[in-house]
């Protein structure tokens, strides 16, 4: 690190974690972890509960001492500093608003602690930013969950922290309000340009809001990248299952042909572009081929001849179908694996596609991805919430 001036611009690294880890007795909450969060970004730590994401956040805030490693904020080592000396602020999971102070004093708390006397204008502006200007003299318990959440954000943001840490800030809100607040938080982040580090177990929330998502599992970062990259090219079965739904098919590697890897799963030949495979495919060994449900097209077995060449195809029988409005979700039993899931948009519905029908599933090989077959196919399936 060169002497980076603490500019709040869009360049440079705001948070740098070096070999940071946390152990409680014999339990390792966070394995040694390196992470660099660029300034001005909206960064999400995503994972199921107990994966170490909150501990990581709390180590950045100084609420938890790391067992090993260091925390750097804007190029300055803050590992040994107590929370009140770090240029970060936190939005707590249950907001932790001071119940004895009104909204105005809650928001002014940080400014007053730093000895700033004239807080009126700043507090007013901040309350306007979160659209709570009329609630200044209310007590926290007189506000709804969504309003309390906005107060918590205002109380943290008013201090212009180097980094704003958000610990499951939307967890206590109902679904509709959560969606609304996601957009709201994104708007605020864009407006103030401060680095946000957001901890969540909701993969949809992470993907909606963050520029960069780090998927954590068992105290380790499984994969880090832009939401679309993580979704389209997961590198582990955990990421493939935790972010959305994936069909993972075990296949034998037959060899290569040009840029493609040739595979066989239960007498069905499949191809996978070598660039879509994140592991080395050796002939004679196994590989997992993954395909998202919405990338698969269903065709009734009678029309199999109409399927264009160059697509992977497997046969199966519809076990179940459920109509959910924008799409119909099918569960299909196939020789390559039971319970494959397929989402079809409801554009031209083929009435023959009912449970019991013989079908062909086909997809563009470029839409699938290859994974190391040594991993558990089930990893991350129970951990995610919903689809």
């Amino acid at each position: 690190m060169t002497a980076t001036a603490p500019t709040a611009g869009s360049s440079g690294t705001d948070v740098r974690l070096t070999a940071i880890s946390k152990r409680y007795g014999s339990f390792t909450a966070v394995h040694p972890l390196d992470l660099a969060i660029p300034a001005g970004s909206f960064f999400a730590l995503l994972g199921a509960s107990g994966c170490g994401k909150t501990t990581t956040l709390r180590m950045i805030a100084g609420l938890e001492d790391p067992t090993t490693g260091s925390v750097e904020l804007a190029g300055k080592d803050v590992t040994a500093l107590p929370p009140h000396k770090r240029p970060v602020n936190t939005v707590f999971q249950s907001y932790a608003l001071f119940p004895h102070l009104d909204i105005y004093e809650n928001v002014a708390f940080g400014l007053r602690r730093r000895g700033i006397k004239s807080v009126k204008k700043q507090v007013g502006d901040m309350l306007d930013l979160v659209q709570l200007g009329d609630f200044a003299r209310r007590k926290p318990h007189q506000l709804s969950g969504g309003q309390q959440q906005r107060v918590a954000v205002a109380r943290a943001l008013i201090n212009h922290p180097q980094v704003l840490l958000l610990d499951e800030p939307l967890g206590a809100l109902d679904l509709k309000l959560r969606r609304q607040m996601q957009l709201e938080l994104k708007r605020i982040q864009t407006e103030v340009g401060i680095t946000f580090v957001h901890v969540t177990h909701d993969q949809e929330e992470a993907m909606t809001m963050a520029d960069t998502v780090a998927v954590m599992n068992g105290g380790r970062v499984e994969q880090l990248g832009a939401p679309a990259d993580l979704y389209e090219t997961p590198r582990t079965t955990f990421v493939a299952n935790f972010l959305g739904t994936s069909n993972l098919i075990t296949a034998d590697v037959l060899g290569t042909s040009g840029d493609d890897i040739l595979l066989r799963a239960c007498d069905t030949k499949l191809t996978l572009p070598a660039t879509r495979c994140t592991t080395t495919a050796r002939t004679g060994e196994k590989l997992l081929i993954g395909i998202r449900p919405e990338k698969i097209t269903l065709t009734h077995a009678d029309d199999a001849g109409t399927i264009p060449d160059g697509r992977n195809r497997i046969t199966g029988r519809i076990a179940d179908s459920s109509f959910i409005g924008v799409s119909t979700q099918y569960v299909i039993d196939s020789p390559v694996g039971p319970g494959l899931s397929v989402y079809e948009q409801n554009i031209e519905r083929d009435s023959r596609l009912a449970p019991g029908a013989e079908v062909v599933l086909h997809w563009n090989p470029g839409h699938s991805f290859g994974l190391d077959a040594a991993q558990s196919v089930e990893a991350g399936t129970d951990a995610g919430e919903g689809t």
Partner: protein, 309 residues
């Protein structure tokens, strides 16, 4: 009431039945209150009225007492025993402050730092209640006895010189001095301070401490601006639970003090049981009650805790 599909002919007969049931339902809370109210009437309201009438009677034990609306008893009682009134308030206020000073750090420790020792420590706080109030106070008499280890230690550490200078002890003894009485009061009422303090501290979300630290408050500022204000209901409850009974207490002054440390409780007790001047004793009781009510009302108004609960 949900089955409203009745014909107009039926409604005439059914409506009263429904309202009767509803009325019975409305009465349930009053029935539930009844035992408590009866208890209060028999053991609180009735004695209070009886006491009030006693306080305005004149007469003697031999000739019997009669209600003569003799309010002068109040004025006489007050002029004669105002030193004991003032002493009671002073002793009990001092004991309350000492209880707060001793109890707050302890309650804080138990609530936030004790971890798995929390329950054990709470049991230890309550443990003195397993012995009677009287026996515990008598034990203090032994502890503070003249020439005993405590007094000699205080003497050789020159602490007695300091307390002598302050006028709370005299010469080489602790027993039969204001210090002994205040110590006894403090000891006996300490759990009444600790319990409400602990309850209100324990209710404080530890994340509020983290939030305050996160918002640049030092640990001391966190205590001043967050913890202490939030524990105010406990402080108010604790001081009231200590101050009110301590003001009327007579056991501590009786066992640990001399005639110079008599509190108003001792006067009332001796008027009732020894002098047998019931009107004066009753009047003193009413004055004490009124004085405590007035002080407590003022205190609650000033501390403004209704905002916190």
């Amino acid at each position: 009431m949900t089955t409203t599909a009745t014909t107009s002919a039926d409604t005439g007969t059914e409506a009263p039945a429904v309202t009767a049931a509803a009325r019975r339902k409305k009465l349930v809370p009053y029935w539930l209150l009844l035992p408590g109210i009866l208890w209060l009437v028999v053991f609180f309201a009735a004695p209070l009225v009886y006491q009030a009438s006693t306080s305005v009677q004149t007469g003697s034990l031999e000739e019997g007492f009669k209600v003569t609306w003799h309010f002068a008893t109040y004025a006489d009682a007050l002029t004669e025993y105002y030193p004991q009134f003032l002493r009671s308030v002073a002793y009990s206020a001092t004991a309350t402050v000492l209880c707060l000073a001793l109890g707050y750090p302890l309650a804080y420790l138990i609530a936030f730092k004790a971890g798995r020792w929390r329950n054990l420590l709470m049991v230890l706080v309550i443990a003195p209640f397993f012995t009677s109030f009287l026996i515990r106070t008598l034990a203090w008499k032994t502890i503070l006895s003249d020439g005993g280890p405590v007094v000699s230690a205080l003497g050789s550490l020159h602490i007695l010189d300091v307390t002598n200078a302050l006028g709370v002890t005299e010469g080489h003894r602790v027993l039969a001095t204001p210090l002994a009485v205040v110590c006894g009061l403090t000891y006996n009422f300490l759990p009444f301070m600790i319990l409400p303090l602990y309850t209100s501290l324990e209710r404080i979300d530890p994340r509020l401490h983290e939030a305050a630290g996160d918002l640049y408050a030092t640990p001391l500022t966190t205590f001043r601006k967050v913890t202490f204000p939030l524990s105010m209901p406990g402080v108010v409850a604790g001081t009231l639970l200590t101050f009110i009974p301590a003001t009327g207490d007579y056991i501590n002054a009786e066992l640990l003090g001399s005639t110079d440390q008599k509190m108003i409780g001792n006067v009332i007790q001796s008027q009732f049981l020894r002098v047998l001047d019931y009107p004066t004793a009753a009047a003193l009781s009413f004055i004490l009650m009124a004085a405590i009510l007035a002080m407590v009302t003022l205190y609650i108004r000033k501390s403004g805790t209704e905002d916190l609960v």
